[in-house]
Subunit: 620 residues, 2 copies
């Protein structure tokens, strides 16, 4: 990284060329720009996505945006929040429609910080990224397209990819050299096409919908809710918007229609007339149809389950840290190969689940008691019937918390090279390849109550959470841990910063290594913790990231140390949780006296790091 | 209000002239501008307060700012949050200093949404107001001063006050006419001086402090906390700031010194040397001294308890709604006379308390068990000793939740003209003249979980919270209430909007009257509430302000309807809470069948409204 051309220069050498400034390209660009990479980012549209296209940000995506420091910019737009979804069905006997149920978007059994879906125009979301990128000196080059690319590792070992770019009007051209080329243009990707990568469609029934944004006058009671309405006259989806606006998706054709025509169009009047029929016995009138001038007519689209943008965010973040880990010399190049299977499995699970879900619901509607049971506080009740189980699974998918990456070098499992009795201790609730649990803790240095899982901002580092249990119990183990971490061949000491001697003492997250940030959490009241006494050796350098696990949590009401308890760690003895830079748990170990804990962690990192760690014994 | 000149015109006629754009003037201007008043606002400084002067926003003030929609603009600056304050004292035997205690800024016994003090430069806070005012078309005229004013109600009954204004360089002059003149210039007020109004000082001991902002390197463990440090070498106050900055107030002179000189100065070097002595055995070095160029030397000030700005906010809001109530024809002019005693009593209580507090602490330091007991969850324990009681009182003052307005026409008491057995029902926890309790509820129309006390933004209206208990129990009482409110002579119907027939159906807060906004809260789950069935008569028009009291609250863990329980209302039968436009409880009544509830409310409003209400029987 050190000898690459500076970001400010006009050199045609880049770390990465990103084609397409939709959600995936923007997230990738944002993550990499924070780590100082040199990025060429182009998009073939003259302007960002117009504000008209709405999308739902999942609870988990909001966590992610907060971790990047972008949540408040999103919330400044005062987006609508969907806490519940209502279902309306034919009342029978030509009586119009009745509400058959309402379900939480993110029921209490999911421990989400933000248990709602945030609805905001995709264009506004993109602009939040664009303005953040500009702060980091990255301007998206528009309207430019990619016309050719080739790769030659022999000729140009450092920048093997040559990319030809062209203004869409053909007036200018550019050739650039890069280490990576990322195609994030969606379905009509030039990069994908050239590489012969297909797209799998699993959409058994196609529909054409009319989309209408506007201000309405109606006595339909759920006009401010997200609703799915089925009637004898067709279907409507209601999407609340900011202020008094509402978006209606009104079905105007289906592939199950006898006269199915995927190019069917309708006038605004026809769509409104159709909506009026579907909503009977309720009335609806449009006071104003919005969406700028383009709303003088009606646009058409095929709404997806709102997974597109959220999936894109996770894809990009998954890839970004792996590129960083490789480029910065920390991880072996093979870890890039974990990107596709991790993300593909998630996509496939989602598609498979969609089918199961649809099938279950086509058979019968759930009873009210089932909905209630499914939404309830507890999880994993073995008495749950098939419906309740499927509903819970659905909530995990639609909240974004259902993502689970399978076993590989990064996500420890019983087939991982690292094997020790200390790994995955008894009682642990965390699962590798899934998110760490949320927890409130008190930061020791300033007594602020904070969200532990948000305390390390996106910085490309592995997050080492040392749950240190009771200081009187773990004092020796913690000293040993600090000592072993400081040993010359430990995973930690093997990747020290080259500029370690000149790092500012204000550096909170990466004082020693660019690849690790360490938090220490004690099962004690804040007032009982004295950092200079209780936090030994190199750990003391992370004094801004020392916490008291002294906040009560309703999910573990009887725990003395709620954060420990939520992770499933012993409240006295603690344990160590290693979280990947994208927030997924990599490995959990016990915290023990001696070298066992660091030995286990060395073995874990050995599975994918460039240096063989843990060979020598600790040398301070 | 209708025939006053438009805000856009250059007419010299104003509703109010506001002199001074400090916290009190800005808050008054902001509140009145939201209600459409025509304001001339001047300030004799060429620029707003420089950003250097820090101030602490109390928890209660943050509620207030949120209610005005200004909180997120404040938080965008990422201010430091003070959750706890640490006390350091001489260790004895020349061993430097030791920590003798840490206390919560706003302990758990106070039910605050934001249990911390927010530290932000006063200049930045003022800019948030200034930019909000500009959105409402009000620009502060600078640097202008007031040179004379007179009042003649006979000559100009509508705009009796004539005010002469002048540019501070004397180059231009203006004469304007107003209904009100407000002097908010602080100690050196021209208006105050002319009217012969003195300022009371109660500051038995004077100190001179050196103020130094900067980035330091220190092993003092509480450098990120707010600390009061007393040593054998003098005193320091530590105020954390954003990023790695810290502000130190370093005492350089005291009126108790034998050579006391209130104009004593010191160089930056002298102040730093003094700080080093005081902080022993800890070390401190300045890496950078901030505060622009002005920090090349050291500024001096007398720090107050941080009450100034917070008091100013409450003063201004108290006055703003009363001016509005009078000017809009709702309340009798006498209510303006409640402003001074209400606010003066608060100020006097604060001063009296300060003395008591200082006295108590000069006698002995509290024991750790006392601090713990004082900070604990429960309140009003009769076993509390004097120290604990005083500490709790202190927390109420410093959080802003201690403000209690005494009995008068607005704050019901046993001597209020309104007397009925329904008023102040048994078990009620709310106290008139104090804030309504905070409560989470679920909004019925969109299932959003919201803060009930924030659901009505600052709009100058009385807030009628109808806690409707169990729908099956109160059905009749609620119908009767709606019917009686609609009666021609009810307090509600006596002040209908003149434009009531043309009000948009999107108007949420004031569809019927500019003086009342109504919320209805049922002790039922959201899914059980059907607005069209459960919310009768005119109340249904407030459909956006109907709530389910179905959120669990740790403070009333056994309650089925936590919001009802927190107010001290019967969870089945409910009750009606009338809250003044500034958030203080005016009166609480039972919710009963028949006309009793509205009769009691009519009597309450009769005590200060312009129209005699409740004379006739309900006429729909």
């Amino acid at each position: 990284m050190e000898d690459r051309p500076s970001s400010k220069s006009n050199s045609p050498y880049y770390d990465i060329v990103i084609v397409g400034a939709g959600p995936v390209g923007l997230m990738l660009s944002t993550c990499l720009s924070r780590l100082g990479y040199r990025i060429k980012h182009i998009d073939n549209r003259a302007e960002p996505t117009p504000t008209g296209r709405a999308d739902g940000i999942q609870p988990r995506s909001l966590d992610l945006l907060r971790n990047l420091g972008l949540k408040s910019a999103i919330m400044r737009h005062k987006p609508a929040r969907v806490y519940e979804v209502a279902f309306w069905d034919p009342a029978g006997a030509s009586k119009g429609i009745i509400r058959t149920g309402t379900w939480a978007s993110c029921p209490a059994f999911i421990d989400a910080r933000y248990p709602f879906t945030t609805l905001l125009h995709q264009g506004l979301i993109e602009r939040v990224f664009i303005s953040d990128l500009e702060k980091n000196g990255i301007k998206i080059q528009r309207p430019w397209k990619i016309t050719a690319f080739s790769s030659d590792e022999k000729q140009n070992p450092e920048y093997p990819v040559e990319v030809n770019l062209e203004h869409t009007d053909g007036t200018s051209r550019e050739t650039v050299h890069a280490k990576y080329l990322f195609g994030g243009e969606g379905a009509r990707s030039f990069v994908r096409e050239q590489l012969g990568i297909g797209i799998t469609h699993k959409d058994p029934i196609a529909h054409v919908w009319g989309v209408m944004d506007g201000v309405v006058k109606t006595d339909f009671p759920d006009i401010k809710m997200k609703c799915t309405i089925h009637s004898e006259h067709g279907s409507i989806m209601v999407i609340p918007r900011e202020n008094s606006m509402v978006r209606l998706y009104i079905q105007i054709a289906s592939s199950t229609d006898p006269d199915w025509n995927p190019r069917k169009t309708a006038t605004a009047d026809e769509v409104q007339a159709s909506a009026k029929k579907i909503l009977q016995p309720y009335s609806i009138e449009w006071e104003r149809v919005e969406w700028g001038r383009r709303m003088s007519y009606t646009q058409f689209m095929q709404p997806k389950a709102g997974q597109g943008m959220n999936t894109a965010f996770l894809d990009a973040q998954n890839l970004a840290w792996k590129i960083h880990a490789v480029e910065a010399g920390f991880a072996r190049r093979e870890i890039l190969k974990t990107y596709e299977p991790e993300r593909k499995e998630v996509a496939e699970n989602l598609l498979a689940f969609d089918n199961k879900y649809a099938k279950l619901f086509s058979e019968r509607l759930p009873a009210a008691t089932e909905v209630k049971a499914a939404s309830s506080h507890t999880n994993g009740n073995s008495d749950d019937n098939e419906f309740i189980k499927t509903f819970k699974e659905a909530c995990e998918f639609t909240s974004g918390y259902g993502v689970a990456y399978g076993p590989n070098a990064l996500n420890w499992s019983s087939i991982h090279p690292a094997q020790s009795q200390l790994i995955h201790p008894k009682g642990i609730k965390l699962r590798t390849g899934r998110m760490m649990a949320n927890a409130d803790v008190t930061r020791v240095v300033d007594a602020n109550i904070v969200h532990l899982e948000q305390e390390i901002p996106w910085n490309g580092s592995f997050r080492i959470f040392i749950f240190a249990g009771k200081p009187s119990v773990t004092s020796r183990a913690l000293k040993d841990l600090a000592f072993q971490l400081g040993g010359k061949r430990s995973f930690f000491s093997s990747y020290l910063r080259p500029d370690i001697d000149t790092v500012s003492h204000h550096e909170r997250y990466n004082p020693h290594s660019l690849f690790f940030t360490i938090c220490t959490i004690f099962a004690a009241a804040r007032s009982e913790i004295e950092i200079s006494r209780d936090v030994p050796g190199l750990l003391e350098r992370y004094r801004d990231l020392v916490y008291a696990d002294d906040r009560w949590d309703r999910r573990v009401p009887n725990a003395t140390a709620a954060a420990h308890a939520k992770m499933g760690l012993d409240e006295e003895k603690g344990g160590v949780v290693v979280v990947r830079p994208d927030g997924y748990v990599g490995i959990v170990t016990s915290l023990v006296e001696g070298s066992g804990t660091v030995d286990a962690l060395n073995a874990y990192f050995n599975a994918f790091c460039t240096k063989k760690t843990g060979d020598n014994k600790a040398q301070l």
